[in-house]
């Protein structure tokens, strides 16, 4: 576990976008019974999710969020030095979506742009990398985009995962701010648990075939193909309990801050049952741990910035805060950060209609 520290770099503006179409989990059809759906809503805390239509990609949601950020802050687009796009649902297998977004967002050709293939840990990893770039004398502004259309990766008829995921995109502007002090990050990986959350077919290991696209019905009534994501919930929970509290404590120790010196703990929004277990284990006060699960579900790497925009906009804009962020999931991969912030410009949440844009 590397311990990373950065000085004089901060988040200065944020925006997020979600598809306009909202799905109510209580209206889910087969293979979910009304009783199944009610129980899942109760245990996971996920009532509504936003679902991207056929024309909307993760990049489109990030594009909308970034456009709003530029419009609201007046930041000159050509002044962005680095563009990072964190996603596992890119537009194409090549080229990198970040490079296409450089053009679509009107950034200069002297912008460094590339994709980062991570899921639920991706905001923390991306932010750490953005801070690292911003420490360079020749870099003043980094735009971090997190975008996911996870509802297209999972089968909506998978009983283990069909009601958990939502789609969203976010834009986070990182700049030099001498007065903000030090930030600390951890980063971890466990490829031995790679099979716990995986889309097995459709890559280069197991390319698409007629068979991989064929939907199968499983013993519990779930229906999915080899090109849908599959999750082993028990193994993932085991990992969370064994590794995540340890990492959170390590990050707090590295930063030499106590729990009561943190204003908000913004965690990846996995589901309420798992998140609340971690919160209680660490004895964190409920009013310091915001949730956006009820309205947006699990949006993978977007869940931390989406929670900040949807639930913390007022305190983030009004005052300086010391945030603790932690992302954990597919990989398996997990990371934490202690991130001091000055007042952040937080744009209002953008809703995106499904329309052919590219």
């Amino acid at each position: 576990m590397p311990l990373l520290s950065y000085e004089g770099v901060a988040i200065t503006a944020m925006a997020a976008a979600v598809p306009q179409a909202r799905f109510d989990n209580l209206t889910a059809g087969p293979p979910f019974t009304a009783g199944d759906a009610a129980e899942i809503v109760e245990k996971t805390g996920i009532r509504y999710r936003r679902i991207a239509g056929p024309h909307t990609c993760a990049s489109d949601l990030c594009h909308a969020a970034a456009n709003r950020l530029f419009e609201d802050t007046g930041v000159e687009r050509k002044s962005v030095d680095v563009l990072l796009f964190v996603s596992q649902t890119p537009d194409y297998r090549m080229p990198a979506t970040a490079v296409l977004l450089q053009d679509r967002l009107g950034l200069g050709m002297n912008t460094a742009a590339f994709d980062i293939n991570l899921g639920c840990s991706g905001f923390v990893y991306g932010l750490s990398l953005a801070y690292s770039y911003c420490m360079q004398a020749g870099v003043n502004r980094v735009l971090l985009l997190n975008g996911e259309t996870r509802t297209k990766a999972y089968s909506m008829r998978d009983k283990a995962t069909g009601l958990l995921f939502g789609d969203a995109g976010s834009a986070t502007l990182v700049e030099k701010r001498a007065s903000v002090g030090q930030s600390f990050f951890t980063a971890n990986s466990d490829g031995a648990r790679g099979e716990h959350i995986i889309i097995r077919s459709g890559g280069y290991r197991y390319p698409s075939t007629m068979e991989s696209l064929r939907e199968q019905t499983f013993e519990d009534g779930s229906i999915r193909s080899g090109e849908h994501a599959a999750m082993k919930g028990r193994g993932v929970f085991e990992f969370l309990l064994l590794e995540v509290p340890k990492d959170i404590k390590a990050a707090l120790t590295a930063a030499a801050v106590a729990v009561d010196e943190i204003d908000y703990f913004v965690f990846h929004q996995a589901n309420r049952f798992m998140n609340e277990h971690i919160r209680k284990r660490l004895r964190l006060p409920a009013d310091k741990v915001p949730y956006s699960l009820a309205d947006y579900g699990n949006t993978s790497s977007v869940s931390i910035p989406l929670t900040m925009v949807a639930d913390l906009a007022s305190p983030l804009a009004a005052k300086a805060n010391r945030l603790f962020i932690c992302g954990f999931g597919v990989g398996l991969s997990w990371a934490s950060g202690v991130v001091p912030c000055e007042p952040i410009h937080v744009s209002e949440l953008v809703e995106v209609c499904d329309a052919a844009t590219v």
Binding site: E39, K43, G233, R234, G235, F237, L241, F273, M274, H277
Partner: protein, 76 residues
């Protein structure tokens, strides 16, 4: 410890503690679905600061097995 484990499982499985204690396989005392599994792992973690893994569960059939596994894990 045995009493606490019986209490946890009888509440999750909604079954009689005596029946649970005598069962050859505790899973047969109620609906042992994935939510019951996760709730049990969470409750054992809360109560004993021990994470019972899927691997551990494959060797747990009776309440005595459960106690043995938790004790062994607690001992380190």
């Amino acid at each position: 410890m045995k009493e606490q484990i019986i209490k946890i499982l009888s509440e999750i499985l909604e079954c009689d503690p005596v029946e649970l204690e005598q069962a050859a396989n505790f899973r047969e005392c109620g609906e042992w679905d994935s939510m019951a599994y996760l709730s049990t792992v969470a409750a054992i973690d809360d109560e004993f600061n021990v994470v019972v893994t899927e691997n551990d569960f494959s060797g747990i059939h009776t309440i005595d097995d459960f106690v043995r596994v938790v004790e062994a894990k607690k001992a380190g």
